[in-house]
Subunit: 308 residues, 2 copies
């Protein structure tokens, strides 16, 4: 599948920007990266050497104009500060033809707020990846009321074409879909620890050896559709809907105050059992890759579809 | 690893009871099942023929006394109605030596409520499996203040010995750990649909292609420990704790009223795209098995540890 896009500029060379750049390059796209910070450029260069991209390695630019030159699509992955992003968008528009879509990887800002001051706000779309972005297939595509259908369709089509799993929101929302769900779960994960029901390690184990395995296969609605036998979701909601509502009423409202934070930090250190962040990230990514490979093999799909 | 237990009685031959019986048999234990309903016994017999257990197939009894005879451990998986469970527990105690532990698979009742009227309440423990129980490794072990440490340790040890992943709660709580977390996520999954942010299918896709894959590898606390680079959970909580609290405040409070239910049912039917419940369950279980095999291979663990 081809999206027609061949040249992409990535604005911001941090964790998200560099991961997305890698993803684009691995799918046959030509990529440039804008990173104004000298130290950050050094780190980025170092990181990319480890990827063995050969001659396809993206060009890193310290000047926005040079990075945007010839780009048919822009991924903005600058720090999550609204004034910074607004200023950057205004500057980007100087160097871009008006039909070039800008997708922002923002996780917590609204497209409508970022569009303030843009000359062509209709081109701005949120395209939110999930960490680590080169492994997790989800891309959440969302626009404000000012975003054009074309910009949304172009963004969706591009990510679909490179083997990602884009989903399209009907309207913008803080945290899009996945981070809203993650936050809802996390609120209770904090409450269970802070109210003395279970330890941090046991909460984490309850997820990874329990519902987590199911959520890697199906989402919450479909799982309940299968949770009531032949009667499906209608039967589930009729018989167990009241149990859900009762449980909702029993969920906690914790605060992340100093003592709660300390309890969480102590708990996670105990769970880590001496493994440092680097080791734990490697463990995580190995597990993710094993699952992605297993599911791809099951569904007879390539792990990473090329864009051609 | 051996727990010392060789004979187990399963009380209730429905979905959970039969799955747990299968698990025990496959791990070398001798199992009897009590199922008072004639039609249910017929279905159970049919189900068990499909498992090819040969001579190890559990004996199904219509009389409680016969099913409990010689049992060293009892798993109670009767319907989730408190008066029924209370009456059943009283009757079970007539036929059991006082040191035989009774583990209840209850998902939504409290051990302390079920202990009312028991002669030896200290033997009652919750041992909650997750659906489908023969695949999902989690067993949540919880007791009330009247439950003995011995009963908790015996139950934990038994499930550990047959290759499950038991976690022990520090105190009882409605929904234990995993269903509390699942409910919290589900509440927002309903809200996102009912407030028009996204469709049922897109919510489900956002989970399975996004955070779901991570939750099959690590729990929510550990994932945030890894979400802030070298600074770990302390840095995450300091810098992104306020974002979490802001998102918590923005989560929805939906009701499962008639129009919301219809919206959810229509959405899941669209997502199912003609696949019936049987097909979808087969798809789910195939996916779960692929993931469990991949993670077992990665960790050099057998898929299902024998009890010997």
């Amino acid at each position: 599948m081809s999206s027609g896009i061949e040249r992409i500029a990535v604005v911001g060379g941090g964790l998200i920007g560099s991961s997305m750049a890698r993803l684009f390059v691995e799918n046959g796209l030509k990529v440039t990266i804008y990173e104004p910070d000298k130290a950050a450029r050094g780190r980025l260069d170092q990181t990319m050497r480890g990827w063995a991209l050969g001659s396809r390695v993206p060009a890193i630019h310290a000047e926005l104009e040079a990075a945007l030159c010839g780009a048919q699509f822009v991924l903005e992955a600058a720090p999550e500060r609204l004034p910074l992003k607004q200023a950057l968008l205004k500057e980007m528009e100087i160097f871009l033809a008006k039909d070039v879509v800008i997708a922002t990887a923002t996780s917590s800002l609204l497209v409508s707020d970022m569009q303030v001051g843009m000359v062509h706000p209709n081109r701005l779309v949120a395209a939110h990846p999930f960490n680590p972005p080169h492994l997790i297939p989800l891309i959440e595509v969302a626009g404000s009321e000012s975003t054009s259908e074309e910009a949304l369709a172009t963004t969706y089509g591009l990510f679909k074409a490179i083997g990602r799993r884009p989903v399209r929101l009907k309207r913008e929302a803080i945290g899009h879909i996945a981070n809203r769900l993650t936050s809802a779960l996390y609120q209770e994960a904090v409450h269970i620890v802070s109210s003395g029901i279970a330890s941090v390690a046991d909460v984490d184990d309850a997820v990874r050896y329990g519902p987590g395995i199911r959520w890697a296969v199906m989402g919450p609605h479909m799982l309940y559709h299968l949770g009531a036998g032949e009667g499906g979701y209608a039967k589930y909601l009729k018989h167990l809907g009241p149990t859900q509502e009762a449980r909702w009423a029993s969920l906690g409202k914790p605060r992340l105050d100093d003592s709660t934070r300390q309890m969480l930090i102590d708990g996670v250190n105990q769970e880590a059992a001496g493994r440092d962040i680097e080791q734990l990230c490697a463990d995580r990514d190995q597990g993710l890759l094993a699952i992605l490979q297993a599911l791809a093999a099951l569904n007879n799909e390539p792990l990473n579809e090329g864009i051609q």
